[in-house]
Amino acid sequence: MSVPQPALTSLRPMLERRLLIVSGKGGVGKSAISVALALRAQRAGKRVLISAMTDRVGAASHLGADRLFYEPTTFHGDIQAMAIDRAEALDEYIKLQLRIPAAAPMRSLIRAMQVLADTAPGIREVITMGKPIFDVWQANHDLVIVDAPPIGQLMSYLRAPAVVADLVPTGAVRDQAYRMGATLVDPEQAALILITTPEDLPALETREALVELESEQLVHLGAVVANRVLPPFDISPERLAALPERPASEAAQHHIGLLDVQKTALAQLPIDIHLPYLFGVHTPAEVAARLADAWDNNL
């Protein structure tokens, strides 16, 4: 079985980029790792913007806040974070990026455009994905980290510039889309960080995503990260079989069973970074801080 090869294994070149898109199957820890990466970049002296594409709460919780807004909020000194609101992004897109005259009847125009953006394929994706890319172009930050939707959904965002180019023969949206596509595929500027957990389904989806990314070349693959990797546990099968204490033997079998799944899952993937399973109760902010530390231990 051929496995797509990892793109790079060191962190430094990754943080030298301008745009990191963090994705993976739902529930693998994208928001936590987005914030962990931001903490790492901050330690390296970078001015970072976290751009949450999915919801207002996920990344916020790992920053110790309740929610994010379209206007960036500052955390931990100088990390900025915002949530992309599609309506506001559309508004900004029409006003600023497309230079629509101020005299235009904006409210009804924007509402009508929303209908178009909702039906016209690729357009809402271009507008949403466009926001963090505009932030890269504006260069107010050294690094923009996108806490992106699950990988299946993200693919349609990454494909959007090409879809729009196919569908829209002329017009300003097409020009913007073209420029966005160029930023996304430039390995000097942008990279995708693909997160998985050591389980069957996430590993399968990650493999499929790697194949699609390899064939479509929509964005450079920065790293594949395995999150929640379980520690090894050495015990002889004889001892395990002879264990009288019930919870201890159940917990041992549970762990060994999961390790077995983990081994199979990770063997199929070119993992660049391993992040540990964090046992017990941690606040989301602690989780992000621990993952940032753990990232260093990989190097």
Partner: protein, 348 residues
């Protein structure tokens, strides 16, 4: 209970919706009830969980699951369904024209509400066929799950909405009326943004789409009613993200007259682990066992706290399903899953 009974399983990605749906369907089918399990999620998990291969992916034709007697399974292909929708609701000429319209094809492929709506129509179709007593529906994850429920009204709004009427005129006189005076500033803007060639395609599309309205509106209302009387089960695990998502289903579904009935807490750990200690000995293995018990004790505590939090927050019945090391790969594995569950039989 009206037939067929509809059970919809929803929740965040990665909480095991598809496996739970298959398990629930398998249990119901054991009661010699004709059961169909439907997955809208394009994952292969359903086939894997049932231990079957699904042929006819694109025809939406259910496959019988061997050794169950009365269980069928189907994975929905929404592009096919979407085309079927237009054929059902309009004349063959309009349907052909839509099928040839590049804008329509792109919409059918990519407009999420259209996919979710197509799935809803297909479910309604199965419900009407009279071939099954119970339908178990596995929804797409997260946002897609909510969208599955809201799609019928969003489609009605799209096809019959004020904006569209404003854009195309009150009646459907033909393309020229698309360029109504009131719509002109909008069209000038749209022209700058999108170019006029696409605009014409969109205009054609919207005008054709409006001929679907009557049929589609009636159908959408029927789907809404179907969802309204369905038993909606929300699945979660102890991950904060999935718990947040579950909370969102409980708060936002009632706004569209769908009320979730119960919570399924998947991947539960035994409470007995919380205070358990490992063996007392002094060997390296004893040490390793104690360490392992300690870390899983912490996890079990977190897991119990999460269950208690969800129970306190949502005043609904809750079933717990134990954490299996490996998802089931056949019917007997599914039966084990349900047998190990606590309270699942009560809510079905």
């Amino acid at each position: 209970m009206r037939r067929p009974e509809i059970i919809i399983v929803t929740g965040a990605g990665g909480v095991g919706k598809t496996t739970l749906s298959a398990g629930i369907a398998a249990v119901i089918a054991q009661r010699a009830t004709r059961t169909l399990v439907i997955t809208v999620d394009p994952a292969r998990r359903l086939a894997d969980a049932l231990g079957i291969t699904m042929r006819d992916r694109t025809t939406n034709r259910p496959t019988a699951v061997p050794d169950t007697g009365s269980l069928d399974a189907v994975m929905l292909d929404v592009t096919a369904s979407w085309e079927a929708i237009t054929r059902r609701h309009t004349t063959p000429e309009v349907a052909d024209r839509l099928a040839d319209n590049p804008y329509f094809r792109a919409v059918a492929d990519r407009f999420p509400a259209a996919q979710a709506y197509a799935a809803g129509e297909q479910v309604a179709e199965f419900a009407q066929s009279g071939d099954w007593d119970v339908l178990v529906v596995d929804t797409p994850p997260a946002e897609g799950g909510i969208e599955f429920f809201t799609a019928p009204r969003r489609m009605r709004e799209l096809v019959g909405g004020r904006l569209l009427r404003w854009l195309t005129g009150a009646r459907i006189p033909g393309r020229r009326m698309f360029y109504r005076r009131a719509a002109r500033p909008m069209l000038r803007l749209a022209d700058t943004l999108l170019g006029s060639a696409l605009l014409e395609e969109i205009a054609d599309f919207l005008l054709d789409l409006r001929t679907l309205y009557d049929g589609l509106a009636a159908r959408a209302a029927a789907i809404d009613r179907l969802f309204g009387r369905a038993t909606v089960l929300v699945a979660t695990t102890d991950s904060p993200g999935s718990m947040r998502e579950a909370g969102r289903f409980f708060s936002s579904l009632p706004e569209i007259d769908v009320s979730p009935h119960a919570l399924i807490f998947n991947r539960a750990l035994p409470d007995s682990w919380i205070t358990a200690r490992g063996p007392k000995g002094n060997t390296a293995e004893d040490e390793a066992l104690r360490e392992n018990m300690a870390r899983w004790g912490l996890e079990a505590r977190r897991n119990r706290d999460a269950r208690q939090e969800m129970a306190a927050r949502l005043a609904v019945p809750m079933a717990t399903v134990p954490w299996l090391r490996r998802p089931p790969t056949d019917i007997s594995g599914l039966a084990d899953l349900v047998a190990g569950a606590d309270g699942l039989e009560d809510i079905l």
